[in-house]
Structures are given as structure tokens and as C-alpha cells.
């Protein structure tokens, strides 16, 4: 299926999922779509709503009427119109139940549409105008118009079939069955019409012979053929055919069986000319039987059987099989039932019934009426051969019955008021609806129609509405199609194609359709559900349908897709890249700890000084040394103790050489760390006390809370009130700022917050080895003068200032061994574990 659907109204391409055309808001798909699967059988009694909708044909859309007109005007339809004219005048104007009603209404009122056609629109009569633009409806009309000339080859009809919507094609074979019933029913209707219009029928009969060729072009020729090609063709029928061929060789020599059929029809209604149509009546049988059956073999075989009835006239012999095929009738009048048995016997025994000889001046007419009588008999009264013939004859079931009407002038047939003026509408307008289906496919007639079950149901389960249709002329037209379709369907069930045509409009249309008010007075007396009760509530115009689809551009689509992906990514659980849980190796831990403690303990216990102190002075250490040496003797020096007790050993070792280098400094200690003040006291009482300098002044300002805020406040306004800091009112008046810290953040805070207030005093940082990498950029940017980091820096400082006799020297051997040991463990263990890791990853890849 294509992704787009071309709007049948405006021709614009619409996406397949759209219901209405974006341009003209026309419905792209029929409303009957959902009904395709709704195969719920419609029991008798439900259908009458359908037949009444035909009364609303006057509101047939304008386009439909225009299409009809255009169809008439087409050159191709001219021939059909001629046929239609003949049909109007003679027999074909009165179609089967399906078409007869439509034609009659079309004749009486051009705007009227039969119920089945109005159902195609998807709406009931009340909403017909709303669906005037429905493509299917249009197709129905157009297709019908093109198929008016049913003599068109099947190829053309199939080409039109391409335009048929699937829903219509899927309407099952039952949809085809009416199409092929049409010829038979049309012939049957012709009898009905002829019964009421003897004049035109007579006229048509006079013209019959001259128009054989034209009539032969009618679809009648092809349709019955398939019926009788069936292997289920009763023997008696074949026999009759053979007899007929024996009686009249010219019978099957007629290349146009349908012409014979048509000729037979006027015969039944025109007693005066009926005698002259003896051959034509014989031709009726093959024409009614089949066109294919027109093959010389079968045709001759059947024709040969017909003459076997010696008791019958030739024309009668030819008619007998036809009448027997037309045996099935929904209901048969009593008088026909009474005559059924004799007629049946006549069919069996080839004896002319008494009533036939008595009532009819022309023997053909009673014979033709005889078979319908058989059909109308109760099933139990029907002979076996007739039961077997019933399915086939059902195709023409109406023909004999209605054919008998003019001859017998029975009351029940007179109720079929199909005045000739009511059927001026050419017949070809409606048959094409069904003739669009390929004629070769006639499953309805070959399968269902031949089943005994269907036959039984036709006799026993005939719906009430169908019987009512026989009684009510107004409703006949509506019920006739359903009745014909029922011939090939399960009894009591409305064919699916009819269901599919039921209006879906659940709003006003359903209310109207369900309105079964029976009109008891006035011009509409006897009609049911003609006028809706809620007329005022029925919308008179189709509400504008707004497409609910967003009109978005490609860019908007891509952005929407991106947003969806983002949202999906937000909600999608993102797998956490977790490493495989390596089991903790206590042994490795213990091994490392044992090695370290053993080696370091041994070295510490032995107090060895084997390893030399580092040689070479980095720039930052030399800067610190230069700054220390530049501090004047006794100058105030601000010392910030900002390290944790955990690094007291490292920091004391790192900073002590500096204080040995300064000349009797005036030290002011301050700390932004809570424990810094006590650590300063420890430093004073420890490494500083060990220095050789005796003139060191010291002042511990204690804890400076607030971190950076405290440093900024202290740098902005020292508020020194201590005697030893006399004359020092700002930070820039210190000789140097020494920061002893183990934290890069602390060093950064001191550097940042004192940058504007310390002036150009040297800043020397003694840092832990761990924070040195993050402090070194400040040395590189010359914000600090010197940097001594960790034991390595202090060792260098100590090596170059005091000759290497301080704390660093005591630690250095253990430190160097510890570093070498760590290097060996990391490299050795790292490479080993790298190999293990590669092996594990390779193994995991292999597992995957």
C-alpha cells in the first residue's frame, strides 16, 4: 500500500494515515471500513432500516447526478443508453430487486438514490450530502457509468476495477453475486415491467428482432455462463438443453444467447407477439443459462434435451429449463403455490399444466409462470430434482415469478407498482456497480447458490423484510438487492458487502436510520422511517473537519527526535563503569607493611647516615635561602602555622633550617588552623629551641578563625597592640612572611588575601611535599619568593645552609630507602599486575 493516498476529490496526495484530505477535507477512506470486520449477521427485521433510506434518494448529491449525466453523454455510453432505452421500454429496465427499485425511483425522481447506493456513501440519507465527496461514492457512480456498456470486454471493466477501493473489492463474492444476478433479475424485472406496461413491451418486442445485436451486447451473456458452467448443473437442466437443441437447431446457433434471453422476456409479456417469438423463447434458455455455455457442445447438449419434451411447444421446451432455474422465490403467492405442483410435474414429465393451457392464449406465458410456482412451493413439496436445481435457478428466481405477473394478473404482483414512467432511468446506470467485478469470478453463484443449505434457507429462512419488500412496492427497491444477495449467502444474514455499505455516521444518520416510525397518514402513509423524527437536529452541512495532524517541518521533526533522544538518555539508566571487584589482598598489604616497617625500623633504629643528602639547589629553595638571609636581624617576621598535626614531623623538619638561618628574628606566629597555635608552641619548644640563636623573640597570636575571611581581616587591619610589634601597623611592615603549611589551599589563601596588603615583603612557603606541586605555580609567577617542600627541600636547604646536621639528616636514610623501596614495589608490582590485568581482560573478552 502506498504511503500516500490521493484524494479522489481534489487529487492531492495525503499520507496514508490521514482520514481526511488536507486540502479539501474530503474523506479519504470510506466510513464502511470498520464494518468490514463486523460480520455480525443482520437478522431479519434489522434490514428494513435499509430499505427506507432509499426514500431519501432525493437528496442525492449533485455530483452524483452530474456523473450520471456525464455518463450518459459519453460516446461509449451511447450504445449502452440505447440498451438502456430498450431496457426501459422492455425488460431490462426492470432489474432484479436490487436494481428495479433504484431504477424506478430514479425514474420517478432523479434525485432519489436506492438504499444500497446511499449506504455506499457511508451515511444514511440524512447525511448523504455530507458524503457527497466521498471517493467511493464517486467511484460507484463513475464506475457504473462506465460499465453501462456491459458489452465492454472484461479487460476494461478490470481496468476500472483498479480504481475500486479495497473495501469494495473485499466486499466478498456476495458483492459480485448481485452483479451477476442483475442480468437475471433484470430480465426478471423486465417481466414485471412488461406486465404493467404491455404497450411498450409490445413495442419493444416488435423491435426485438431488429436489435438483437445490440441486446446481445448486454452482460447477460457472460453472467449466466458461469452459473451453468458449474458441475453442479442439474442433469435435468442439461437434458433440457439437449432437448431444446433437438427442437430447434437455430436455438443454439444464435451467437448471442442474451439476445435470446431478451427476446424471451418480451415473449412472456406479449401474448400477441409471443407466437412469433417461439424461436426467441427457445433462445431464452441458452441465453439465461450462460454465455459460455453458448459453446456449441454444452449448448447443443442442453438444447438437445429440450426437444425431448414432446408435450410442450418448442418455445415452451426452451423455456422450461429457464423457469426451473428461476424457481427460487422468496415468497410465492398462494395461487402460484397451487400451481406449483402441476408445473413441477410438467417440468418433470414435460406435461403442460392444465392451468397453463387454460389461462394463457400463448403457451409460453404459462410455462414461464409455472417454474416460479415451483420455486415458491414449500421445500417439502418441491421435487428432488427441483431442489437440486434451485440454487442455479435462484439466479433467475424472480424472473418467472414476475414474468407470470402480467400473464396471470395476480394481485400480489399487481402490488409491484412499477409504472413505466418510474423507470425511465436507463438501467445501465446501476448495473455497472456490480459489473465492475470481473465476470469470470462468480463464486457466489457457483458455490453458495448451489448449496442446498442456502436453498433451504431461502425457502425457510426468508427474512421478513424481504417478504415485506415483495408486498410493499416502495420498499421493494430497497430490499431487492439484499434479497438477491441473500441468494448466495447464509440465510438470515445480511451480506457483508451490504453491511459494509451501512452508514457509519453514528450521529444524526443513525438516529434517522433507526427512526422506524410508521407513517399512517398522508402521502407517506405506509412508509416506515421515511421522515426522521429529529430532523432539526440533523446537521444540514458537514462540519468542517480540521486535521489533527501537526504541520511540522523536517527541521522540527529532527529537533523533536533529538529531544526525544535527550529525554530518553536522561531516563535511560546509564551503566556505571565499575571495575571488577578485586579481592583485597591482605597478604600484599602485610607484605608491604612488613617490608616498610622492617626496613625503616632498622634504619631508624640504627640511625644510619649512609645516603647522601641531595645535591643541587632548585630555584625555589635558593629563593627561600636568599629570602632568609635577607631578613634583617631582629626584624619582625610573620610566621603562619597552617598544618595538621599529622605532618608535624615533615613540617618541623622542613622549616627548622630556615629559622636557623635567620638572625635573631622577631617571630610572630599565627595560624588559621585550630591546632596550629599549639603546634607553634611545640615548634617553639622543639626545633626552634634547638637553634643556636638565643635572641629570638616570639609571639603566638593563636588561632585566626574564618579562613580566608580571617586572613583578609588580619591583613587589612592587624590591630597589633603587643609591645614586641611596636611600630608594625600593617602586614607590609613585616620583614617577611613565612607560611608553613601542608595545604595548597591554605597557602593560596595566604597568597591571595595578602597580595594587596603585604607589599613587596618576601613570602617564603614551607610546604609539605604533597602540596608543593600546587604551590609551585605561585613561585613561578613570582608571587612567592621561595618554596621549600617536604623533606627533600629541607634536606637541600639544610645541606646548603647548615651542612646537613638537622632533622632532615636523621630522616634521610630511611627516607631514601623508603623511596627506593616504594619505587621497586610500585614498578615490580605494577608490571606484574599489569600483566595480570591484561590476562584478565583477554579472558573476559574470550568469555564474551
Amino acid at each position: 500500500m502506498a504511503d500516500t493516498i490521493k484524494c479522489p476529490v481534489c487529487g492531492r496526495d495525503n499520507s496514508a494515515d490521514q482520514e481526511f484530505c488536507e486540502n479539501c477535507q474530503s474523506r479519504l477512506e470510506p466510513l464502511t471500513g470498520p464494518l468490514k470486520g463486523a460480520d455480525a449477521p443482520i437478522k431479519p427485521g434489522q434490514a428494513p432500516t435499509r430499505k427506507n433510506t432509499a426514500e431519501l434518494e432525493p437528496i442525492l448529491p449533485q455530483w452524483l447526478r452530474d456523473a450520471r449525466d456525464s455518463a450518459r453523454k459519453s460516446a461509449e455510453d451511447e450504445a449502452v443508453s440505447q440498451i438502456g432505452k430498450q431496457s426501459q421500454e422492455s425488460f431490462s429496465a426492470s432489474n432484479s430487486d436490487l436494481l428495479a427499485g433504484l431504477q424506478s425511483h430514479a425514474d420517478s425522481d432523479d434525485e432519489e438514490t436506492p438504499d444500497w447506493l446511499t449506504s455506499i456513501t457511508g451515511n444514511s440519507a440524512a447525511s448523504k450530502k455530507l458524503d457527497a465527496e466521498s471517493p467511493e461514492v464517486r467511484w460507484v457512480e463513475l464506475g457504473g457509468a462506465s460499465d453501462f456498456a456491459q458489452e465492454e470486454p472484461p479487460v476494461e471493466s478490470s481496468s476500472e476495477k483498479d480504481e475500486i477501493a479495497d473495501w469494495f473489492r473485499d466486499a466478498s463474492g456476495s458483492l459480485q453475486s448481485p452483479g451477476f444476478e442483475q442480468p437475471a433479475s433484470s430480465s426478471h424485472d423486465s417481466f414485471i415491467a412488461s406486465s404493467d406496461t404491455p404497450d411498450w413491451l409490445r413495442q419493444m418486442a416488435a423491435e426485438h428482432e431488429t436489435k438483437d445485436e445490440v441486446v446481445s451486447a448486454k452482460p447477460f451473456d457472460a453472467v449466466p455462463s458461469s452459473l451453468f458452467e458449474s458441475s453442479d448443473t442439474p442433469d435435468w437442466l442439461h437434458q433440457l438443453g439437449e432437448d431444446a437443441s433437438k427442437n430447434s437447431d437455430s436455438f443454439f446457433t444464435d451467437a448471442e444467447p442474451s439476445a435470446g434471453a431478451e427476446s424471451a422476456l418480451p415473449q412472456s409479456d406479449a401474448p400477441d407477439w409471443l407466437s412469433s417469438l417461439g424461436a426467441g423463447s427457445q433462445e431464452q434458455t441458452p441465453s439465461a443459462d450462460s454465455a459460455d455455455f453458448t459453446g456449441p457442445v454444452s449448448g447443443e447438449k442442453e438444447a438437445a434435451e429440450i426437444p425431448s419434451d414432446e408435450g410442450l411447444p418448442d418455445w415452451m421446451k426452451g423455456l422450461q429449463p429457464t423457469e426451473s432455474e428461476q424457481s427460487i422465490q422468496a415468497e410465492t403467492p398462494a395461487w402460484l403455490k397451487d400451481d406449483a405442483q402441476p408445473s413441477t410435474e410438467s417440468a418433470d414429465n414435460f406435461e403442460l399444466p392444465s392451468w397453463l393451457s387454460a389461462t394463457s392464449p400463448t403457451p409460453e406465458k404459462p410455462v414461464q409462470e409455472e417454474q416460479p410456482a415451483q420455486d415458491d412451493l414449500p421445500l417439502g413439496d418441491i421435487p428432488g430434482w427441483l431442489k437440486a436445481a434451485a440454487p442455479q435457478s435462484s439466479i433467475y428466481s424472480d424472473s418467472p415469478t414476475e414474468e407470470a405477473a402480467p400473464s396471470s394478473d395476480a394481485d400480489w404482483l399487481t402490488s409491484f407498482k412499477f409504472p413505466s414512467e418510474q423507470t425511465p432511468e436507463p438501467q445501465p446506470q446501476l448495473p455497472p456497480v456490480f459489473s465492475t467485478d470481473e465476470p469470470a469470478e462468480v463464486p457466489a453463484f457457483t458455490g453458495d447458490a448451489q448449496s442446498n443449505y442456502n436453498m433451504d434457507s431461502l425457502f425457510t429462512d426468508m427474512p421478513d423484510w424481504l417478504s415485506n419488500a415483495m408486498e410493499e412496492p416502495s420498499s421493494t427497491s430497497a430490499s431487492a438487492p439484499a434479497a438477491n444477495s441473500l441468494d448466495s449467502l447464509t440465510p438470515g444474514e445480511l451480506p457483508s458487502w451490504v453491511q459494509a455499505m451501512r452508514p457509519l455516521d453514528a450521529g444524526s444518520s443513525q438516529s434517522v436510520a433507526n427512526d422506524q416510525t410508521f407513517e399512517s397518514r398522508g402521502a407517506l402513509a405506509g412508509f416506515q422511517g421515511v421522515l426522521p423524527l429529529t430532523t432539526g437536529f440533523v446537521p444540514t452541512s458537514k462540519p468542517k473537519v480540521h486535521s489533527i495532524r501537526l504541520q511540522v517541518s523536517d527541521e522540527q521533526r529532527s529537533q523533536a527526535a533529538m529531544l526525544e533522544q535527550i529525554l530518553a538518555a536522561e531516563t535511560a539508566p546509564e551503566p556505571i563503569a565499575s571495575f571488577s571487584a578485586l579481592p583485597t589482598s591482605k597478604g600484599l598489604r602485610w607484605l608491604i607493611a612488613f617490608v616498610l616497617i622492617a626496613v625503616l625500623g632498622t634504619l631508624s633504629f640504627m640511625r644510619t647516615q649512609i645516603f647522601s643528602l641531595p645535591v643541587g639547589v632548585p630555584f625555589e629553595v635558593s629563593g627561600a635561602m636568599n629570602a632568609a638571609q635577607a631578613i634583617p636581624e631582629g626584624a619582625p617576621v610573620l610566621v603562619a602555622f597552617d598544618y595538621e598535626p599529622a605532618r608535624v614531623g615533615e613540617m618541623e623538619a622542613a622549616a627548622s633550617p630556615m629559622f636557623n638561618l635567620m638572625q635573631n628574628p622577631n617571630l610572630t606566629f599565627i595560624s588559621t588552623n585550630e591546632t596550629g597555635a599549639i603546634l607553634a608552641e611545640r615548634f617553639i619548644s622543639g626545633p626552634l629551641a634547638d637553634t643556636d640563636q638565643s635572641g629570638i623573640q616570639r609571639l603566638n597570636l593563636g588561632y585566626l578563625p574564618g579562613g580566608q575571611m580571617g586572613i583578609r581581616a588580619f591583613a587589612q587591619d592587624p590591630e597589633f597592640t603587643f609591645p614586641q610589634l611596636e611600630g608594625v601597623t600593617s602586614l607590609s611592615q613585616f620583614a617577611a612572611l613565612i607560611i608553613i603549611t601542608d595545604s595548597a589551599d591554605s597557602a593560596r589563601a595566604w597568597i591571595e588575601q595578602t597580595s594587596s596588603s603585604r607589599g613587596t615583603i618576601p613570602v617564603v612557603v614551607f610546604s609539605s611535599a604533597q602540596s608543593a606541586p600546587m604551590i609551585r605555580p605561585y613561585y613561578d609567577s613570582q608571587q612567592i619568593t621561595g618554596l621549600v617542600s617536604g623533606l627533600y627541600g629541607s634536606a637541600v636547604f639544610e645541606q646548603n645552609m647548615s651542612g646537613g646536621s638537622g632533622i632532615s639528616r636523621n630522616y634521610w636514610d630511611a627516607y631514601s630507602v623508603g623511596m627506593l623501596l616504594a619505587m621497586a614495589l610500585i614498578l615490580g608490582g605494577g608490571l606484574f599486575n599489569l600483566a595480570l590485568g591484561l590476562r584478565d581482560r583477554a579472558a573476559s573478552r574470550e568469555e564474551k
Binding site: 529532527s558 527526535a561 533529538m562 533522544q565 535527550i566 538518555a569 591482605k586 598489604r589 602485610w590 607493611a593 616498610l596 616497617i597 625503616l600 625500623g601 631508624s604 633504629f605 630555584f619 599529622a646 605532618r647 614531623g649 615533615e650 623538619a653 585550630e674 591546632t675 597555635a677 599549639i678 593563636g702 588561632y703 578563625p705 580566608q708 575571611m709 583578609r712 601542608d742 593560596r748 597568597i751 591571595e752 588575601q753 597580595s755 609539605s768 611535599a769 604533597q770 602540596s771 606541586p773 600546587m774 605555580p777 605561585y778 613561578d780 609567577s781 613570582q782 608571587q783 617536604g790 623533606l791 627533600y792 636523621n810 630522616y811 630511611a814 627516607y815 623508603g818 623511596m819 616504594a822
Partner: protein, 230 residues
């Protein structure tokens, strides 16, 4: 050795051993030592806060202002007092909301100090320092050759830029929803990872050196303690 020194040495030796017991595994002795350490440290900090913050900066000025201070001094000292009282409310979950104003004040002041320090103390000086990495005059003062200056300066500059690029996480979303940084930025970020790896390796070595120094100091203290009795 005085009694206090002896007690200090004993405590030091004892707690050092308790902590080293963790090398065997987690044990109650280690936990007892840690909990005692946390309690003592907290109590000590609380005492520090009282004696070196609250008392000299709040109580003493308040008493002084109440006794001899002017009205302005009294008013100015009442503000931090009120703030101190309000911030104490933070200890109570029901009254914690009353301290929001004080916390807002602290956050505002802290933000301002941080901004000024970062801009004037780090951002501008470090940018200038990067530029000055190619300062030939400064290099000549250090007796550094021109080639060495350019060579080292280039590495410093590249390391700085690449590392900064690594922290640039801006990316443009593509049509397919994936986000990926610009190709040049991606390459720079990859190089930045190298420099960051080197820097962190340096930090790791420094941490190990600091820890090793602490271990050596503790081991030596143990031997020193034992040496006093041997």
C-alpha cells in the same frame, strides 16, 4: 624527663601502636584510639574556639562596650552577638530556620572574599605568570639560556592551555542526539589529560613522601621512647 613528658611519651607510644595495629586489620583497639582522638580533638577545638574567638572577640568587647563603650560600640557589638545567638539556633532542627540570615551573611562575605582572592591572587597572576614564562630578562637573571626558556615556556604554556581545555565541557549536540566536543578541543583535552596525569603523579609522589616522612617520624618516636627505657 618530667612526668608530663613521660605521660606524653607513654600516650604517644601507646596510641601509635594502637593505630599501627590497623596494619593487621580493623580492631577495637584501633577504633578506641580513633574515637578518643576525635573526642579530644573536638574538645580541644571547642576550647580553642571559646578562648581564642568567642571570648576575645565577642564577650570581652561586649563587656567592655557595656561598661565603657559608646552607644555605637554597644550597637555594633550587639550585632555579632545577635548573630552568634541566632547561629546557635542551628543546633536545633526546629530553630534552624532562624539562622538562615546569619548563614546568608557568612556566605555573602565568603563569596566576596573568594572572588576577590581568586581574581587578584590567582587568576590574573597566573595568567601573567604563563606569559612571563617566556620572559627573557627574568630568565637571564636566573642564568637560563634562551632555548631553555622557550622550550620550558612552551611546555608550561601548552600544559596550562591543554589542562584548561580538559575542563571545558561545552559541547554542541548533534542531530543524532550525541554530544561531542569540537575536534580541536577534543585533541587538546586529550593532551590535557597527559599533563593532568603528570601533575597528579607529582602529587602522588609528594603524598607518599609526606606519608613516608610521618611514618619515619613515628617509627623513630617509638624507638626514642623505647630508647628511654633501654
Amino acid at each position: 624527663m618530667t612526668t608530663l613528658d613521660l605521660i606524653t611519651a607513654i600516650l604517644s607510644f601507646l596510641f601509635t601502636l594502637l593505630i599501627f595495629s590497623y596494619l593487621i586489620g580493623d580492631n577495637p583497639l584501633f577504633r578506641i584510639a580513633v574515637y578518643i582522638f576525635v573526642g579530644v580533638s573536638s574538645g580541644y577545638i571547642a576550647a580553642i574556639a571559646w578562648w581564642q574567638v568567642i571570648w576575645p572577640r565577642l564577650i570581652q568587647p561586649l563587656i567592655s562596650a557595656m561598661l565603657t563603650g559608646s552607644l555605637l560600640e554597644k550597637g555594633l557589638i550587639f550585632v555579632p552577638l545577635l548573630g552568634a545567638v541566632l547561629i546557635l539556633m542551628k543546633a536545633s532542627p526546629r530553630l534552624a530556620g532562624m539562622s538562615r540570615g546569619v548563614m546568608a551573611f557568612l556566605v555573602g562575605v565568603g563569596a566576596a572574599v573568594t572572588i576577590a582572592g581568586a581574581v587578584m591572587g590567582t587568576l590574573i597572576p597566573q595568567v601573567m605568570g604563563t606569559i612571563n614564562s617566556f620572559d627573557l630578562a627574568s630568565a637571564s637573571a636566573r642564568n637560563i639560556s634562551l632555548i631553555e626558556v622557550i622550550f620550558n615556556g612552551a611546555f608550561v604554556l601548552a600544559g596550562t592551555i591543554f589542562t584548561l581545555t580538559y575542563f571545558h565541557f561545552g559541547a554542541r549536540a548533534k542531530v543524532d542526539g550525541s554530544t561531542r566536543r569540537n575536534g580541536l578541543i577534543e585533541i587538546s583535552a586529550w593532551a590535557g589529560r597527559i599533563f593532568i596525569g603528570i601533575t597528579l603523579g607529582t602529587v602522588f609522589a609528594g603524598v607518599y613522601a609526606a606519608a613516608l616522612t610521618a611514618l619515619i617520624e613515628r617509627i623513630m618516636s617509638l624507638f626514642n621512647f623505647l630508647g628511654n627505657f633501654l
